[in-house]
Symmetry: C2
Subunit: 314 residues, 2 copies
């Protein structure tokens, strides 16, 4: 086991969590919550999704939210987008750290439900996006695969399919003079298992030994933390997590299911393994409790209810 | 990693879970729930605690419950007890598989809160119990340590303390002509981490290479599954788990915190690792959904909301 010395955590709760809730939370409340997160040591917070307001009304205030946010030194606010229109909206805020990425789903059925386009149509759109990046002086991109470990609609997906898609994405990047800075693997529907995590990561590490891997793990079936642990043991040091475990995917076909690995539980795991996160866990726990208050129902994260170990140590 | 070929799961939900709920569930409802569990392939179900009805009124119907239970071939019903009176009550039911054990807490504060006696007083009581076992033709016992990985009241506990207590318990057993059949390690308050699990299990395996280890892991801080996974990788094949993650410890000092690792999530993990459990996961998921209906509030287990992977595979 070669645990990394430190990890970088991308907090996705404000986007994944508030997008998933049926109620539409007021912008000022979201802003104040995000600003609390920004004062815990988190360096990277995904605050909104630039998608169609008629499909995801919870994110209709994306621009207003970003405009109202106080900024903090060393903290990046980011936003997600699915297409050029979303990317342009996010860029126009002038306040977001734009993540330049080329991500496609390995499941065609999910791709059509989530993005309204087949895998082939998505790849075509990503070619256009890569050209746009190239024309706008972007030098590097991440490449990524969603539903990389399986899909509720299609079942198991072959690892070769994931690798082949990554190769296509790499080719799209390189042919547009874009360096590949990261490989992102997303377990959108909680199909990953530690065995599959190991197989997939080892395959990617062998093919792209110099490119860092980033993981996005939903805890849909209770294996999120085990999968994260297995990835840490393989040296992965970049994770998306969600405060209090908020969220889920609206298009994944199991509305009641859990969101991403809970940030505060993952931070506890890292600290107990001697891995630095730069995060004040007790401050983060306060945010997790606030998240639960905001959404008004129990959230899946655990350590917020029991307290950090460091706070109880003698 | 040397995962075991199969694991034995001790379902503790009906005891830990229903003991932890404030409401007192009707006996017939508990019985019908336990009988459903008994038809999933589970071989070992802890159905009640023989403790003082004035301290734990939820378990006041222990005898009546056991009397009413239908039995099933290959399924053991068990009960917990803290003292001789409880052991005698459990034995008198005539229907339980009595687990003969000598368990002491590593935290003196917890011992006093949970059992109303110091560690030294507990050890004295266990000497009497061991004599009783010996006089009643019992040939083997488990020895165990509760709060083996740390304590909310006392913080970290030294591994040497755990090992020393196990040696004392072994001496009590051997001096009463009782063979030690198992070492039980209980993470009563969720202080275990994968690092500590590895250190502790390796120490126990080195000292008692021929004695099987059994783990009781609370998921208080979200590390329950990671700890179980680490233990599996060290060859441990005996686990207490709780359906839907019901429960908690009434005397652990964090009432809102989670119970044991959820049985159905752990079964999913085992099956995905190729480890046999003998359990029908989809039948178990139905029981987990029923448990949530019975207690009337969300429970922490995950896979009951999303479905097993095998049911979704093409």
């Amino acid at each position: 086991m070669t645990f990394p010395k430190k990890v970088l955590i991308h907090e996705v709760g404000p986007r994944e969590g508030f997008q998933f809730e049926e109620q539409i939370l007021p912008t000022y409340l979201k802003a104040s919550f995000i600003e609390s997160l920004a004062q815990t040591g988190l360096q990277d917070i995904e605050v909104a999704s630039f998608v169609r307001p008629d499909r995801v009304p919870q994110m209709a205030d994306a621009e207003a939210l970003v405009a109202s946010l106080r900024t903090f030194p060393g903290v990046n606010y980011t936003g997600t987008y699915l297409n050029m229109r979303g990317l342009q909206r996010a860029t126009l805020t002038g306040k977001l750290h734009i993540k330049h990425g080329l991500t496609v789903a390995a499941s065609d059925t999910f791709s059509q439900k989530n993005q309204n386009s087949t895998i082939d149509e998505s790849l075509q759109q990503l070619r256009t996006r890569a050209e746009y990046f190239s024309q706008n002086q972007i030098s590097s991109v991440s490449i990524g695969v969603a539903t990389a470990f399986g899909c509720n609609y299609e079942g198991d997906l072959a690892l070769t399919k994931v690798v082949d898609l990554l190769k296509i994405l790499e080719e799209i990047a390189l042919s547009n003079h874009l360096r590949v800075s990261q490989v992102r693997l997303l377990d959108t529907m909680g199909w990953a298992t530690p065995k599959l995590i190991r197989q997939t990561i080892e395959a990617v590490q062998q093919l792209w030994p110099k490119i860092a891997i980033s993981l996005h793990l939903h805890d849909t079936r209770g294996l999120g933390m085990v999968n994260a642990y297995e990835a840490l043991a393989l040296g992965v040091s970049d994770f998306d997590t969600s405060i209090a475990g908020m969220g889920g995917c609206p298009f994944a076909g199991h509305k009641g299911a859990a969101g991403n690995v809970a940030t505060e539980d993952f931070v506890l795991l890292c600290h107990e393994l001697g891995i630095e996160t730069g995060i004040d866990l007790d401050a983060l726990i306060k945010c997790a409790l606030a998240a639960e208050d905001m959404v008004g129902h129990p959230l899946p994260g655990k350590v917020r209810l029991s307290g950090s170990l460091s706070s109880l140590r003698k």
